[in-house]
Symmetry: D3
Subunit: 131 residues, 6 copies
């Protein structure tokens, strides 16, 4: 249950409606997911978040699917249930296969484990790893 109602299209401010229109146009679908509907109470943050996300997640030095995998990894480590679901769906839509997903999860789990071991051991950074 959200801490604020999810806004339906007819409850949007003009500024939020413009962002929703851009989400629809950019994604080529009429569906606007709950994250944006919850965020729409604050059109300024809605707009800033959407525009930054749109700018970042397209093709660049990293391909869009790789970025979704990174997004999932961070979302898992931060324990964000919504984000794990939404970015898993996005990664599948961008071509994540079952085999890729299996490796992604195995790497996330391994990283969590060695992160914990390194922190427990308080391992000092090797000189050669310093920039």
């Amino acid at each position: 249950m959200a801490t604020a109602p999810l806004l339906t299209d007819d409850a949007l401010s003009p500024e939020a409606a413009e962002v929703f229109a851009d989400i629809r146009a950019t994604r080529g679908t009429d569906y606007v997911n709950n994250f944006w509907r919850a965020l729409a109470h604050d059109p300024a943050t809605l707009k800033a978040t959407w525009e930054r996300l749109k700018g970042l997640m397209g093709p660049g030095a990293l391909d869009p699917l790789t970025k979704e995998l990174i997004y999932i990894a961070v979302s898992v480590a931060n324990g964000c249930e919504y984000c794990v679901h939404s970015h898993t769906a996005a990664a599948k839509a961008k071509g994540m296969t079952e085999a890729m997903r299996a490796e992604l999860l195995a790497v996330i789990g391994m990283a969590a484990q060695t992160n914990a071991l390194s922190t427990a051991l308080q391992v000092p950074v090797d000189e050669r790893f310093k920039a």
Copy 2:
């Protein structure tokens, strides 16, 4: 400062020495980094961790560089200083360019931000995201 001394080669148990030999052979370098030296006090965990890592981080459905990027992402989210340094070095060695690194960090930062917003808003998962 580690919570246990870093073991030098002459202080290793035979079991740990075998793992170190495999690390050197696999990586093609004589250098064994501090994580393994701190972990060498417990040869069983040293061996299990190294073997699982070796098995996971090579080529597969995801390429080795992509796995390093995912590893960095998890390590940042978990706040592991050592791991951020060691896997940033590993990613560079596997071909991460400055442009890729810039995008990686931007995505990690963006994910952390929308993770926080989703959690603050307690956004319910969209039906269509459920498997």
Copy 3:
């Protein structure tokens, strides 16, 4: 679903009942929320937690609403669903407006982002920031 049953008033130990009476008197309401009912299995921790909370959250160098905003911020960063809901409700009861909530969330999101960037970059602390 709680990992322990929520205690109803008639299942309380005398010590827990006393704490519940104080919660009701302090807050001026008969309603005792689920957190305290789950904690009531351990009257010592119930009492210590309630008394410390009562002492901290009233007026002081910081006003009660500011303290609730801080509480929400920590709860979001720690990913505590219950706490996000209960302290969002408490902040509203103490006067948090929609505009304040929008700024709170924007700051929490921004902090999460720059926290991640600082950790990824392992930025050294400026000399002038040291106490």
Copy 4:
């Protein structure tokens, strides 16, 4: 030790130099702290981060000091050493007294404790807390 060199003024790209100029003008000081120097390798993220931060941290529905306290709270919960130092310094510059700081820390500690207890108990959200 940063994972990338801190850029000095003469190593900045024109786009980064412009951001640094705006940081100096906005803050009324020649000093640009290490976070921005580490981020300057990626002028696009530098600019987006600075502009969003500048827009958020000024006066609004919440006063600038309150926002710094919230920033500290998130940074502590996320374990960001750099951010704890830099925003503690910023909060002092904006008027945080010793008494305010003492209460801030006490609230952060209390929230961390009840976050943990709520998670351990998996307390279900009260109906009345739902929006």
Copy 5:
């Protein structure tokens, strides 16, 4: 809702079926809990995870119940709902009394609080604590 369907026995690969058989034999029960059913999509990680867990959680320098308490503590700090539930159940099955559970939670809460205070204060490690 899992991000992948929970596999029923008749949907298992031969390799996953073997792991399930070992889980049943080791635990002396026909019941295989959801974690393994969700993980069964990736038989390699299923097998590696189960075998490592089986090896670790039995009697050793620490008794099995103590290990479950440690497991709960980590799961709470990481905010893993499933893990808190499953390891609380496991700890009860291994003899955790109500009094032990009360102390466990009180210690977890106390640690979370002093962790936050130490991080907020950025307390330097005492020379005598260094190994």
Copy 6:
């Protein structure tokens, strides 16, 4: 570097001095570690924290060493460098052997891994695990 100076004995308020005297008497040593010196700026929180800690960490349903192991586990998961060091030292002083420490770390690492996997998979809680 702490965000507040560590108070020496001659800089303590009378209330803080009393707490320091109790720390010394309880522990049977003249040494007061840095955490308390950093916290001494706020005598009220110093006193509340010390008294709660003293009450919790002695013998009870769980023995003092087990509680230190739990404390380490939480501190690792929360990434608290100071706490990992101080409680590792405390656990050694209370009898933690190398073999116990090895198992502790292995369990912490394993828990971190399965926490991450459970979160990535969003495994639903089994009916039989519910209280």
